[in-house]
Amino acid sequence: MPTTKIFLRLPLACALAGLLTLPGCSFSPTAHAPIEERSMSRASAPPAPAEESGATVTPYPEAGSAASATPLSESEAPRPLAESESPPPSTAVVALLDTATQQTRAGKLDNAAATLERALRLEPRNAELWTRLAEVRLQQGQLDQAAGLAAKSNNLAGNNAGLITRNLKIIEQVRARKGGINKKPR
């Protein structure tokens, strides 16, 4: 699995544990990861021959035991919000955004859309790109697409209030242009 990136979510798991009772939380890199018990110890056995049942449980950490600060298996840990996880866009995406801006200004909206789709192939979870594409579609009068893309951006925007406002504006305009028909973007 060479190209796999694994993101540890220790801080988050810890934050969650903290919500409950544990004020201190250690992020020692050696902090031992998931403690899992399985009612059926076939986890690492060869492929389960049948779709059998079993339950997964996680022992609750004993207070004060720092080692068990991360009682959650990674895969079960809740997900962080988008804003905290989105890295700055790559130079490639910045360059494509510039191109899209120029194309939009020049009225070449189809080209701008194609450029933004190209950028989305590089960074599909970049909420800003989805908003930009929604704005282009709105300009082109493709109302349903604009609304769908804005909703998609919202879905990825996390706490990015500025972006969410832009998306909501797009959705509002779509509604207004559709003649105030009470049609929720979906």
Binding site: T3, P47, Y60, L72, A92, E117, R121, R186
Partner: protein, 750 residues
């Protein structure tokens, strides 16, 4: 005397006028039916790209780039300690022409660390390689060619051609009396036809307008038409037509015409990247592409090539030293012709179907359209290999008669629904029954996420911890037939939490849940997810008694994987005319069809399928940090084995079964899941991190009671809830344990 001359003129003039008309209309009209060319996605290089050095090297090898010590010309590259140096090729894309660039790519493990101009050292934002040609869509007579323009043809090739075929091309007017006399003399002495005196113009006329019969009448027509052609058109126009028309090879029913295609056909490289020895060989093939076929008769071809190289020296086209070194070089022909039949027949079939919606068959086979697809050759190769290898292994392991187990797989990108790979069966190089597109089989438990999603859309009634009844159940199908669903292990658990029932694919609670929420509602969810078939509202549908093809399942799971947004699967990005003008852009289209909150919940439960449920064997093969979500599917008597699952980057669906629909003895977990794991571990992927909607809260749940957990409880698990739907009550274990919890401590202190 005068009268007879007049008679000749009266009859001849209209005839010549007729020939002139023929010559002009055909030469000026559309000369050739050009097959549509189908390309894979271009590889994009940029800083931070997810790519390893050897993967880039493989891509370059696929594209026919030559590995050399010092890459200086387009289409060459070198491995350097921390990466690669590549001189890319110019290529005209939909939006712009990508110029040839000398690029230095430095890698840091599985990412591109830097991308710079190899000469100036200036950083480069984004570089697109030329895309791999993956196939063509041929007209019925299967004449194939890649058009070249005279200005892009290397001068040495033209010099070589003229030196061998028509030395006086630029001097004659279509026929060359001197050559004819010489040929006659040679033939007379030999007693048979060993040399032709035809000019290139005559050869072109013969191929273009005339039959291959050998008669004086035809010869006369040929001569007149050659003179007419020369009178109307420039030498370069005639030469360009010749370069594209000449027959240079045959592969099955596909005829290789023109030097542009011949270069790809024999050397897997464009003409501009060839060497003098290659030109000599190609020109030699004009004399007899089958007799001198370099793949079947390499010695003959080599002898001819070297004769031609000698002749070039005699005529001063090539220096003696250069020719000598060219003569020592190998033929340089690729062992196998890049097949006209695509390496990726299953994917090509999908492309063809999508194209037929928008284009006439005739346009596809004659207009020379350029089709840019979404195929990722690396992913496709990995999927092909994963499926065929695993099938062979499973046949052995489970004593399935050899050759009986079949399968199919699709891989897409989760966010934009681009299809990266289609595997239509274990014999991946052969077209035939395309199971990925055409094998409609019962989907079994793959349907369950739709049942649970429908329930979770009513947060006031259902949450992940809702207790479901797992006790004997009997249902009536519309015909009055009684149906008693059973769990796979034939056990009943009494009560089971909703998320556990999905993770362990329990049939009885699922069927009961589906009946409670209403079968039509479940079917509506399936339709929202993208299923277009009509599904009858029978209870058995709840356990997957619905026949779908792997691609339909992919469409359904695509919507789950992209957070509830439906995007039609796409195999084509753009279509360009032969001249490179944009014709059609297949835009990304998106519609939100499912509320993100219940979708987030069902995704969480599908992650549990992999971390602790029926698919948990996956993490013996892949890192648990990928947080994959998926669902196994098994049908009655173990006839079908399914797995559909997704990461943050890829969605893949795998199916195993037999064409005769007999049992294969494999569950979803023991069969398709293995294939799926093989594919994903070969291609590598990004972890799944669904965005948490604002109205979702995470709550620690005591797994014994499914109430709020806390210190003192022996086992807890964080689970997502739609705001206001989480259990309010603490589990009895909370704070009831030994008084060592911090909470208690705090309570005492304050």
């Amino acid at each position: 005397m005068l009268f007879s001359l007049l008679t000749v003129l009266i009859t001849a003039v209209p005839y010549v006028v007729y020939l002139d008309h023929t010559v002009r209309t055909q030469f000026e009209g559309k000369r050739w039916a050009l097959p549509a060319r189908v390309y894979a996605r271009p590889l994009e290089l940029f800083q931070g790209a997810n790519l390893r050095a050897e993967q880039l090297a493989q891509e370059l090898a696929r594209l026919g780039y030559t590995s050399t010590a010092k890459p200086e010309t387009p289409g060459t590259f070198a491995r350097v300690p921390d990466g690669l140096r590549v001189v890319t090729r110019t290529f005209r894309f939909w939006d712009s022409t990508e110029p040839s660039l000398s690029v230095r790519v430095v890698f840091d493990g599985d990412t591109v660390r830097t991308l710079r101009h190899a000469v100036t050292g200036a950083p480069l934002d984004l570089v697109r390689l030329d895309p791999l040609l993956i196939g063509s869509i041929y007209p019925s007579h299967q004449e194939d060619r890649v058009l070249v323009q005279i200005k892009e043809v290397p001068p040495l090739l033209i010099k070589t051609l003229l030196a061998v075929e028509d030395r006086h091309f630029y001097g004659h007017h279509g026929i060359d009396p001197f050559s004819i006399l010489r040929a006659m003399w040679v033939n007379l002495r030999a007693g048979s036809t060993v040399q032709g005196g035809s000019t290139l113009t005559q050869q072109l006329v013969k191929n273009f307008y005339l039959s291959s019969e050998r008669s004086l009448w035809r010869k006369l027509n040929e001569a007149i038409m050659s003179l007419l052609l020369e009178a109307h058109y420039s030498k370069d126009e005639i030469l360009e037509a010749y370069l594209n028309e000449v027959f240079l090879g045959q592969e099955g029913s596909r005829a290789i015409h023109g030097f542009g295609l011949a270069s790809q056909f024999y050397f897997n490289r464009p003409l501009t990247e060839l060497k003098p020895a290659h030109y000599a060989l190609l020109v030699g093939l004009v004399r007899g592409a089958s007799h001198y076929d370099p793949r079947r008769h390499p010695e003959r071809a080599l002898t001819l090539r070297n004769h031609i190289l000698d002749a070039l020296v005699e005529q001063g086209v090539l220096g003696a030293q250069e020719a000598a070194s060219a003569k020592t070089s190998a033929l340089g022909v690729t062992p196998r012709a890049p097949s006209g039949i695509s390496h990726y027949p299953a994917f090509m079939e999908l492309v063809r179907r999508q194209l037929r919606r928008d284009y006439k068959e005739e346009d596809l086979t004659s207009e020379g359209l350029q089709i840019f697809t979404t195929l990722d050759p690396r992913v496709q190769d990995s999927a092909d290999l994963a499926l065929s290898t695993r099938i062979a292994q499973l046949e052995k392991q489970y004593q399935i008669p050899a050759g009986q187990l079949e399968g199919a797989a699709l891989v897409t990108r989760t966010e934009n629904a681009e299809v990266l790979a289609v595997v239509g069966g274990r014999a991946t190089r052969y077209s035939g029954f395309n199971r990925a597109l055409d094998a409609a089989r019962p989907i079994g438990s793959l349907v369950k996420p739709a049942v649970y999603l429908t329930a979770l859309m009513q947060p006031q009634k259902y949450t992940l911890t809702t207790s479901l009844d797992d006790s004997p159940l009997t249902l009536k199908n519309p015909g009055g037939k009684v149906w008693t669903p059973r769990n796979y292990d034939h056990e009943y658990r009494g009560a089971v939490a909703l998320h556990t029932a999905l993770a362990h694919s329990l049939n009885v609670p699922t069927a009961r849940l589906g009946v409670d929420i209403g079968i039509p509602n479940v079917i509506r969810t399936l339709q929202k997810l993208g299923i277009e078939r009509t599904i009858p509202p029978y209870p058995s549908v709840l356990l997957g008694a619905v026949d779908l093809t792997p691609i339909e399942v992919t469409q359904m799971y695509q919507t789950l994987a992209s957070g509830g947004f439906r995007t039609p699967l796409r195999a084509i990005r753009e279509v360009l005319t032969a001249k490179g003008e944009p014709l059609q852009h297949y835009a990304l289209s998106i519609e939100q069809v499912i509320d993100p909150a219940p979708l987030f919940l069902v995704t969480n439960a599908m992650q549990e399928v992999v971390s602790a449920g029926t698919a948990r064997s996956l993490y013996t093969q892949l890192p648990a940090g990928l947080a994959l979500a998926g669902k196994t599917g098994t049908t009655d008597d173990l006839r079908d084995s399914w797995f559909a699952g997704f990461s943050g980057q890829h969605l893949a669906v795998a199916w195993l079964g037999r064409d005769d629909n007999n049992s294969i003895g494999l569950t979803g977990a023991s069969g398709a899941l293995r294939v799926w794991g093989d594919i994903i571990s070969r291609i590598g992927t990004q972890p799944l991190r669904p965005t948490q909607p604002a109205n979702i809260e995470m709550v620690m749940i005591d797994t014994a009671t499914h109430l709020r957990g806390g210190p003192g409880c022996s086992t807890v698990k964080p689970l997502p809830f739609i705001s206001g739907s989480a259990p309010q009550e603490d589990a009895p274990c909370v704070s009831s344990g030994v008084g060592n919890s911090l909470l208690q401590l705090l309570k005492k202190v304050f």
